[in-house]
C-alpha cells in the first residue's frame, strides 16, 4: 500500500478540494494518481506510435483506450496514421497483380523501391 506524507499546507488544500467536489480524500488522491498514470500512458503511446515503434492497436493498448478512441486522439493532435508512401506504393503492387492496370510503371519511386512489388 502506498503511503504519502503531505506537508500540512498540501493536506489542507487536499481536504478543501475533497470537500468542494464532495469525495473522500482517499478517492481524490486515487483519482489524482490515476490521472497522472493515464496521461503518461497516452503520451507514451503517442510517442511510440509516432516513432513507428508500435502498431495502432498496440498504441491503443498502451494508452488504455479503444482503437477507435485512440484514432480520434491522434487526429486531434494532428498525428497522421503511420502509413508511408513507400508502403502505399508496395500496396499497389499487390493490387496490380489482381487488376489489369499497370499505371505505376512510370511513377517516380525511391531507389529502395526498385524491384519491389510494383511491376
Amino acid at each position: 500500500m502506498l503511503k504519502i506524507d503531505l506537508k500540512a499546507e498540501d493536506d489542507k488544500w487536499l481536504k478543501e478540494i475533497a470537500k468542494e467536489i464532495d469525495i473522500s480524500m482517499k478517492d481524490l488522491a486515487y483519482m489524482s494518481i490515476m490521472k497522472i498514470i493515464n496521461e503518461y500512458r497516452v503520451r507514451k503511446a503517442m510517442r511510440e506510435y509516432t516513432e513507428g515503434a508500435v502498431s495502432l492497436g498496440k498504441a491503443a493498448e498502451i494508452a488504455g483506450v479503444s482503437k477507435r478512441k485512440f484514432m480520434v486522439m491522434i487526429e486531434d493532435f494532428g498525428i497522421p496514421l503511420n502509413l508511408d508512401a513507400r508502403d502505399f506504393v508496395k500496396c499497389f503492387g499487390f493490387l496490380s497483380e489482381m487488376r489489369e492496370y499497370r499505371v505505376y510503371k512510370n511513377v517516380s519511386r525511391t531507389p529502395a523501391l526498385k524491384g519491389e512489388a510494383c511491376r
Binding site: 513507428g52 515503434a53 508500435v54 502498431s55 495502432l56 492497436g57 498496440k58 491503443a60 493498448e61 479503444s66 482503437k67 477507435r68 484514432m71 487526429e75 497522421p80 496514421l81 503511420n82 502509413l83 508511408d84 508512401a85 508502403d87 502505399f88 506504393v89 508496395k90 500496396c91 499497389f92 499487390f94 493490387l95 497483380e97 489482381m98 487488376r99 492496370y101 499505371v103 505505376y104 512510370n106 511513377v107 517516380s108
Partner: protein, 169 residues
C-alpha cells in the same frame, strides 16, 4: 470477375466511411472481418455512424465474420494481442487467399515476413478511380479528405498515380 476477398481492419473501415466508400468497398470486394475487429468497430455504436452502418450490413450478411483457427506464437509478441490486428494476420497466414485492408506500416512489417498481401484505404480510393467506379475529380476530392488522417506523402503519391494514369490514357 470474381470479387477479391479482403479482410478489413477498424482503421480502414473508419477511414473509408470518412470518404463515403464503404458501399463501394462492399460492392467490389468480398469483405470479411474478424470478431475483434467487429467489436472494435461496433464500440462506436450509437455515436459513430460508421458503426451503425457496419452493424446493418453485417446483419444482412454482406460482411462475413471470419475467425482464425489459432494465433501463431511468432506474432504474439509483435502485435497487440488485444486488438483485431493479430486476428487479421493470423487468418491471413492461415488462408493466404486474401488481401488485408489496414492503414498501418507497422503491421505491414509483420505481414511482409509472411508474404501477405495488403492495401490501404488510400489504395482503395485510387483503385476505384482506375477501374472507373469513381472519376478522377472525385478521387482527388476523397484523397484530400483522407489527408486529415494520412500523411501528406501518401496523399501526394496517390495523386501522382492518378496523374500518371491520366497521362497514359
Amino acid at each position: 470477375m470474381q470479387k477479391p476477398k479482403i479482410i478489413i481492419d477498424t482503421s480502414s473501415w473508419i477511414n473509408l466511411f470518412r470518404v463515403d466508400l464503404t458501399t463501394y468497398l462492399i460492392e467490389n470486394f468480398y469483405v470479411c472481418v474478424t470478431p475483434k475487429v467487429s467489436n472494435e468497430i461496433l464500440e462506436g455504436k450509437g455515436f459513430a455512424e460508421d458503426a451503425n452502418l457496419f452493424e446493418r450490413v453485417s446483419n444482412k450478411g454482406v460482411i462475413q465474420i471470419i475467425t482464425p483457427k489459432k494465433i501463431q506464437e511468432k506474432i504474439k509478441h509483435e502485435i497487440s494481442i488485444s486488438s483485431g490486428e493479430i486476428e487479421i494476420i493470423a487468418y491471413a497466414i492461415e488462408k493466404k487467399d486474401c488481401f488485408v485492408l489496414i492503414d498501418d506500416s507497422k503491421v505491414y512489417q509483420v505481414m511482409n515476413r509472411f508474404n501477405l498481401k495488403y492495401i490501404s484505404s488510400a489504395n482503395i480510393v485510387v483503385d476505384l478511380c482506375l477501374i472507373e467506379k469513381i472519376n478522377k475529380d472525385m478521387a482527388y476530392k476523397l484523397l484530400e479528405k483522407l489527408r486529415r488522417v494520412l500523411r501528406d506523402e501518401v496523399i501526394n503519391k496517390a495523386k501522382e498515380v492518378l496523374k500518371n494514369a491520366e497521362n497514359r490514357s
